[in-house]
């Protein structure tokens, strides 16, 4: 309100009229650019919300934990001129502390015996062979058997090299790349394991046993239709040529399929496949290398498309003028591949001997002849692991990390041989001849090399997994092991192996599959989304930290100092490759006084 005193004209000067011609026009605007944002400004900042926001944005992880080394020390080396010497490794031979430790050596720098590393899955290798077949051909069938349940009904049992990843009622597809198997086709799982015993590499199928065959492969298939099973509505392949993924000739990692021609002779047979479809090829001649379920990677035109099959011949015609039947599947077979783990950390961590109350209750090896070494150490990574800008092997958000405990070869004080990587099913016969890669090389009078030591460069073979593009679930079917033996007596009998990598979920995938229809524009589709043949994109959301879905799916690590703290209680079980003697934990002579209960 304004302080204005207005006078009539005659009050101002005598001759003035009392008519006032002065009009005052107030122009008032109430334009307030902040008006619509007032609610944002005047808001209560919730402490919990700030915490959740900070945690969600944080990509920093700090690792610490306990390292428990448990082993059988009963390995023996035979001696010199004085005859047999019974020497066993003692606890110190497994000690993960850093070397140095004397004034001349200066600060402890290099980890002894063991290296603790942090890794993440970053790459897929599908062509690497697992025993006889490339990883992407599926699970190898070691042998088939028949079983007579309820009388004379002889049924098919398959023993697989790796874990099979099957559940009761699942369908699997059996085929061979070496012959036209009588078992080629879909089979339903009736029972896991045998005789009531659950085994993850043995299943009984509903199929009748026919004849013994070898060189068989198996893939799990989701959503199998009757037409799939009966191999109905087949089409025909006229010609196959090695090609790159677009049908070109820059490499020969894929196979171009031709089903029709415009010239020289008009064959009006379009293939009608879509990108992302799977086709089932069952050859009727000797081209058995085409057998199997293959993914359509690229459509060139209505007569030509490219499938994910590497024949191994550089740029050439594989088959021509044949009529090989194939069928576009309704079901979705799983993909199989090897994951490679990339090193994230340098050796920037500390290890301390745990105090007595943190140690194992088992006795010290030095003090008894039973050969059981046990001890506990505490480790703390000084290095923060930042997963910013890191993507998973599938191109999506990183959801898991691995703690690796890598054994070093060499003389400290025990003379261990080279450490090599193998598959877990090879544990009983793993030796230098069937190794995947070298982990640590033996050196005389010192600890062995660390072959994988360059952070963000070095890679390990991690595991063999199955991934289904419809279910969007990855299952580990086989893990790698690291194996070593005595340098002076490098037999399998003296060999040890460990499971080097321990998985740590830093985030979890949701149980719910999200779908973006092909005709809608959706923002924020993650990099690991799958494109279905109909154009839909499907993916699983990564759950926010602290959010637990369905009561058990999620992670909730302590969040402090802007970092997620992950504590692990890691056991390293150092197993003998072959058990030559019964493991005796207590001396038979030892008498135990019974506890008398009144």
């Amino acid at each position: 309100m304004e302080r204005i005193k207005q006078l009539i004209g005659s009050a101002r000067y005598k001759l003035a009229t009392d008519l006032d011609f002065n009009y005052k026009i107030n122009l008032a605007g109430n334009l307030s650019p902040l008006k619509s944002n007032l609610n944002t400004i005047i808001s209560t900042i919730s402490q919990e919300q700030v915490f959740l926001d900070e945690r969600l944005k944080s990509t920093k992880y700090r690792f610490l934990g306990r390292l428990n080394i448990v082993t059988d020390n009963s390995v023996i080396i035979t001696g010199n001129t004085s005859g047999q010497i019974w020497t066993r490794p003692n606890n110190k031979d497994w000690d993960p502390l850093f070397d140095g430790g004397s004034v001349s050596n200066g600060q402890p720098k290099s980890p002894n015996n063991w290296v603790i590393q942090l890794l993440y899955p970053n790459k897929i290798d599908k062509y690497k062979k697992i025993e006889n077949y490339s990883a992407y051909f599926g699970v190898s069938i070691k042998k088939i058997e028949s079983t007579n349940i309820s009388g004379t009904k002889s049924q098919l049992i398959i023993n697989t090299l790796q874990k099979n990843g099957l559940s009761g009622g699942d369908f699997c597809y059996i085929y061979s790349r070496d012959q036209n198997s009588t078992y080629t086709g879909f089979h339903q799982v009736e029972f896991l394991g045998e005789n009531g015993e659950f085994l993850d590499n043995k299943v009984r199928l509903k199929t009748k046993y026919k004849t013994n065959e070898s060189n068989l492969l198996m893939k799990r298939v989701a959503n199998v239709s009757d037409d799939d099973i009966n191999f109905n509505n087949t089409k025909e392949i006229i010609k196959t040529t090695t090609s790159d993924i677009t049908g070109g000739t820059s490499n020969a990692n894929y196979l171009k399929i031709n089903t029709g021609n415009l010239s020289p002779s008009f064959v009006k047979k379009t293939h009608k496949t879509r990108e992302g479809d799977y086709i089932d090829i069952r050859v009727n001649d000797s081209n058995t290398q085409l057998n199997g379920l293959h993914r359509v990677e690229h459509i060139i035109d209505r007569y030509n498309f490219v499938i994910d099959l590497k024949i191994g011949i550089v740029s050439g015609i594989i088959t021509d003028n044949l009529t090989i039947p194939f069928r576009i599947m309704n079901g979705t077979p799983s993909d199989y591949y090897i994951r490679k783990f990339k090193l994230l950390s340098s050796n920037d961590y500390e290890v301390n001997k745990a105090s007595n109350f943190g140690s194992s209750i088992y006795p010290d090896t030095v003090k008894n002849s039973l050969g059981v070494a046990n001890d506990t150490w505490l480790f703390t990574f000084l290095e923060d692991i930042n997963i910013k800008d890191l993507y998973s092997h599938r191109g999506g958000e990183l959801t898991e990390l691995y703690i690796g405990t890598i054994k070093r070869a060499g003389q400290n004080t025990f003379n261990w041989s080279d450490v090599t990587s193998h598959w877990d099913f090879q544990s009983e016969y793993a030796d230098i001849s069937n190794s995947l890669e070298l982990i640590s090389k033996n050196k005389t009078n010192t600890v062995g090399s660390i072959e994988k030591k360059l952070a963000k460069i070095s890679e390990y073979y991690g595991d063999f997994v199955e991934y289904n593009r419809r279910e969007l679930v990855e299952k580990v079917l086989s893990k790698t092991i690291h194996r070593f033996t005595l340098q002076d007596s490098a037999t399998i009998e003296n060999g040890y192996y460990i499971d080097p990598f321990q998985q740590i979920y830093i985030r979890k995938f949701s149980n719910i599959i999200e779908v973006a229809d092909s005709d809608e524009s959706v923002v924020g589709i993650p990099g690991d989304a799958e494109k279905r043949p109909n154009g839909d994109e499907i993916w699983r959301d990564v759950l926010e930290p602290g959010y637990i879905e369905d009561g058990n799916n999620g992670v909730d690590y302590p969040f402090l100092n802007g970092a997620n703290y992950i504590y692990t209680n890691k056991h390293i079980f150092i197993r003998r490759q072959r058990i030559l003697e019964n493991i005796i934990l207590f001396d038979k002579q030892q008498t135990v006084t019974p506890i008398i209960v009144c």
Partner: protein, 353 residues
């Protein structure tokens, strides 16, 4: 917001018809209402301290009662205003106004003395151009209210001299009026312990040294950063090994950069003092850091001239420097007081005038 604008906004609610009218409208479509056409405002001195007031009234007048109006004015001028000052509030009566309505489209007649025409330009829109700025402003202001993350992670900094540095305590011997020598020949005996008490009696075993680490040597502004206790048990001389200090892993000083983003490689200085808690005598002895050449308690004027003797200076080395090469190390600043590269010798503080 001014009171005036506030009023406009409040009145705005009463506008009906769904469209914003250019003038104040009581709801009679097509007419503009003038609820007051001559306001006479009498500013008054505030009769009450701390409360600002002004009284407003509106006097009606027409050509018929103009004479009355003049009288009224005179009356107010002569009597009422002074009396208001003494006896608020005003006691004269006012006559209620009739609303004056003018149909829209009519010319405003000056004869009617419509004095105030308020045309509120009431534009209500979202400023798209600035909305992002405003959101950014909101974010920035919100963040100001939230403490930033401070990394309190502490880790072990080892002594640069491997495997450790020695820390010695020289006690004052009352009998000889001197300090112990650097070999600590008398050791705990100077502190009042007997030979047969050392490592046997509880009064020895429960005694301990405590190291105090400060961020400055200036006692007026220093802050205590951390303390470390050293147990006397199992020691025959007051000499110990110091091989680690727990300090912030991501001390912000270590990350400071110049304008070009290069790390300035600054080291953290900490200043250490010590106290001995004697369980036998119940006394607490303070230790400072004069040179080992000081064998008798120095006079107070010498102490005041040697401020650096107050504490032992240590350097927590920036792990990003070339010499530390990513290792977490600390070192003793040699030459300050009794400090050498691998030894700290602290001496009991005795005040001598």
């Amino acid at each position: 917001m001014s009171l005036y604008r506030f009023k406009i906004r409040n009145d705005f609610r009463s506008i009906t018809g769904g469209t914003v009218q250019p003038m104040y409208n009581s709801g009679t479509t097509g007419n503009q209402k003038f609820d007051s056409y001559l306001k006479v405002v009498y500013p008054m001195n505030n009769p009450f301290p701390f409360v600002k007031r002004k009284y407003t009234t509106t006097l009606p007048f027409t050509t018929d009662n103009f004479g009355d109006f003049q009288n009224k004015r005179k009356e107010i001028k002569d009597n009422i205003i002074p009396s208001f000052i003494a006896v608020p509030p005003p006691t004269f009566t006012t006559i209620a106004l009739d609303d004056a309505l003018i149909s829209s489209g009519n010319t405003i007649n000056a004869n009617n003395n419509y004095k105030n025409i308020t045309i509120p330009i009431n534009t209500n829109f979202n400023v798209v151009d600035y909305s992002e700025d405003i959101d950014g402003f909101v974010d920035r202001e919100t963040k100001k209210s939230i403490n930033k993350i401070i990394d309190g992670e502490k880790i072990k900094y080892r002594s640069e001299v491997y495997p450790n540095i020695n820390i010695k305590f020289r006690f004052y011997d009352k009998d000889t009026n001197t300090y112990d020598d650097t070999s600590l020949t008398k050791g705990y005996l100077s502190a009042g312990f007997e030979e047969d008490e050392i490592n046997i009696k509880n009064n020895f075993k429960k005694s301990f040294f405590r190291l105090y680490f400060f961020d400055s040597n200036d006692s007026r502004r220093q802050n205590l950063l951390l303390t470390e206790d050293i147990d006397t048990f199992d020691s025959f001389k007051p000499e110990f090994k110091l091989d680690r200090i727990f300090w912030f892993k991501n001390d912000e000083l270590f990350l400071e950069t110049d304008d070009n983003g290069n790390n300035l490689l600054l080291n953290r200085k900490v200043y250490m003092e010590a106290k001995f808690f004697n369980a036998k005598t119940g006394r607490v002895n303070r230790f400072i850091n004069p040179p080992t050449t000081v064998v008798i308690p120095p006079k107070i004027n010498i102490l005041s001239n040697n401020n650096s003797w107050r504490s032992s200076e240590l350097t927590i080395i920036n792990p990003y420097t070339l010499t530390s090469n990513g290792n977490y190390l600390f070192s003793v600043e040699p030459g300050i007081g009794a400090n050498t590269i691998n030894t700290i010798t602290l001496t009991e503080y005795i005040l001598k005038s």
